[in-house]
Symmetry: C2
Subunit: 343 residues, 2 copies
Amino acid sequence: MEETAAPVRAPREPAMSDVAKLAGVSHQTVSRVLNGHPNVRRQTQLRVRAAIEELGYRPNRAARTLVTGRSHLIGVVTQNSTLYGPSSLLASFELAAAARGFVVSVRRVRELDRASITAAVEHHRDQRVAGIVVIAPTGPADAALSEVPGDVPLVAVDGDPGRRGAALVTVDQEAGARAATSHLLAAGHRTVWHVSGPEDWFDAAGRVRGWQHALREAGAEVPPVSTGDWSAASGYRAGQLLARMPEVTAVFAANDHQALGVLRALAERGRRVPEEVSVVGFDDVPEAPYFIPPLTTVRPDFDAVAEQTLALLLDRMAGGDEAPPRTITPALVERASVAPPPG
Amino acid sequence: MEETAAPVRAPREPAMSDVAKLAGVSHQTVSRVLNGHPNVRRQTQLRVRAAIEELGYRPNRAARTLVTGRSHLIGVVTQNSTLYGPSSLLASFELAAAARGFVVSVRRVRELDRASITAAVEHHRDQRVAGIVVIAPTGPADAALSEVPGDVPLVAVDGDPGRRGAALVTVDQEAGARAATSHLLAAGHRTVWHVSGPEDWFDAAGRVRGWQHALREAGAEVPPVSTGDWSAASGYRAGQLLARMPEVTAVFAANDHQALGVLRALAERGRRVPEEVSVVGFDDVPEAPYFIPPLTTVRPDFDAVAEQTLALLLDRMAGGDEAPPRTITPALVERASVAPPPG
DNA sequence: GCAGGGATTGTTATCGCTAACATCACGGAC
DNA sequence: GTCCGTGATGTTAGCGATAACAATCCCTGC
C-alpha cells in the first residue's frame, strides 16, 4: 500500500468560515449564533454550536476588535509598590472587571510624577483600550489626567477630592480620620497626636484634615504633625520622638504599617500600649490583629471602591458624562490598642 | 452668507492610509517606516514621520495582530490574595514585561484548584495571548497545567520543583529553609521548631524539607511541625502552643506574617524574644525590620524570579524547548530576633 | 390566488494592517 | 548599447470578524 504523505496543513486555528462549512451554513450565520442574534432557527443554532465544539473554534478577538472598533480591554495605571491600599484595590478591581467580561491590563509606574502617568496613559491609548483607570493618589498624578484627551473614558481613583467635574472615586479619608480621632478622644485622651502619610498624597492630606477637624470640634489642642512616608520605618522614626514625650497618650497613625513602627518605638522605650499610650492605624491590613497589641484601625472597603470604579467607568464607556464622583466611607475596627489614658 | 453645515466627519482615528496620503507615499511605505525596514530613502522616512506626528497617528494593534497572528500580550494567572510573595512577584513581572514592550493581562483566581486554573488559562487562550505565566504554588494548580495543549508558550512559577521537563522557575525553598535553620543551630539552639505553611503548597513543603534536612545534618531532634496557612492568625495559634513549652527556644516560621503571629503569642505569654526564644521568618516583608523585635528572615529575590520567568517565556515563545528549569536561591537577612538560647 | 411582511439565511463590503509580488529607475559589466 | 541586479516604491491580496443589504421562504389576510 502506497503511503501518501498527508498534506502538511498549516496549523491554522479554525476560523469562522471553517465552522460555517462544517455546519453547512454561511459564516454570517455562525456570527449570529455567537452574538446571540434572535433570528436563527433553533436547529441551525444547534448545528453551529456542535460544529464550534467539534473544531474547538474560538473567535478571533483581534478581528472582532478591528471591525467593531471596540475592545474589551481596560487599562489600569498604578504605582509600582506593595502598599496595601493600592494593591488591594487593584486586586479587587481585576476581579470585578473579570466578572463583567473585561480583560485588564496593568501598567505600573515607578514614580507618580506627571510624565510617568502621562506615558502610562498613552501606552494604554496605543493599545486602544476601551477605558482607563488611574490610581492617582498624588497631585502630579492627578494633574496629569487633565492633559489626557477626552476621547477615551477615564476614571481616577483616590484623586483630588476637590477636583470638579471629574470621574472620580475616592475613600472618605476625612471621615475615617475623624472616626479614629474621636474614638481616642472618647476614651478620655486630652488630645491625639498624628503621624501622617506623605504630604503630597491626597489620602494623607485628607486624614490630616479629618484628624484636625475632630480635635477642633472637641476643643482639643492640635499638636504638630510628624510626617511619614507610609513605611514602618517612617512610623518608627516618628514613634521614637513621640515615645520620649510623656504628654503623648494617644497616637493616630495614617496607616497600619506606620502604626507598627510607632508600636515598636514605644515598646523599645518601655511605654506600654494601650496602658500608657493608645494607638490607632488606618487600612486594616490582615496582620493588624496580630500586632502587639492588636491594632484598632480604620477599614476602607476596597471591594466597594473597585465596584464603584468599574460602575463609573462603564457609565463613561456608555457615553455617560453626568455621573457624580463617588465616595466610600470607611469604618472603625476596634481592637486592643486603645484604652483610657493613665492616671 | 449661507452657512453650510460642515460635513460631520466620523471621528475616525487616522489610519495608515491617511498618513500615506499626507506624506505622498503608499501605505506600504508607511508600514515599512514603522517597522524599520531597511530600504526606505532617508528623505521619505522623514516625510512619513512628519506626517505621523502631524496626524497623531497610532498604529492599530488589532489590525496588526490580525494579519501577523502574533500579539504582544502576556497572560498571567495568579491567586487572588495579598500574600506578599505572589504579589511582589507579580509586580516585578509586570515591570519586566513592560520594559520589553509586552502588555500583561492578569487573571486572578479565587481558588487554586484545577478547574479555576484551567478556566483562567482558557480565558487567556481565548484572548490569543502570546504566552502565559501561571503562578502555580499548589499541587492542583500545577497539575492543571499538564492539561494545557502545547500550542501556547507557558511557564509556571513556583510549581512542583519535582516535575520534569516543564518550563518552570522556582525559588530554592529548601536552601532558604536550611539557611534559616542552620543559623539558629549555629546560635547554639539544640533544635528548631517549625511553623509551616499550608501543606499543599510546594513552597511550604520545600521549607519543611530544608528545615528537616538542616536538623538531621546537625544531628538535632526533629520536632513535630505546626501547620499554618501563611496568615498571622495561624502563626498566632501555633505560637500559643509553642509559648507554653519551655523547651522551645527557637522557631522558624514559614513566612514573616506567621512569624508575626508567633511573636505576639510569645509576647503575651511573657516569653522574651530573642532572650528566651529566637524566631526566624521567610520573605523579608518591608515591615519585618519593625516587628518586635526586628525579624531575622530569608529574602527571595522576586525581581530575579520575574526576570528569569520572562526570559524563559521569551525563549519558549521563540520556539525554544530545551531551556532547563531555573532556580533562584534566597538569602538570609540577619536582624535582632535571633540570639543564643538562655542558660 | 396573490400581495405583504416577518423570519431566516446568504452575499458583499469593510475594518487597518502586513506579506508577497510587481514595477520602475538607475548604474555598472560586458 | 543592452542586460541585469539592486534599491525604492507601489499594488494587490488576504487576515477573520461584523454590518448592511439582498434574497428566500413561509404564513397571513383579503
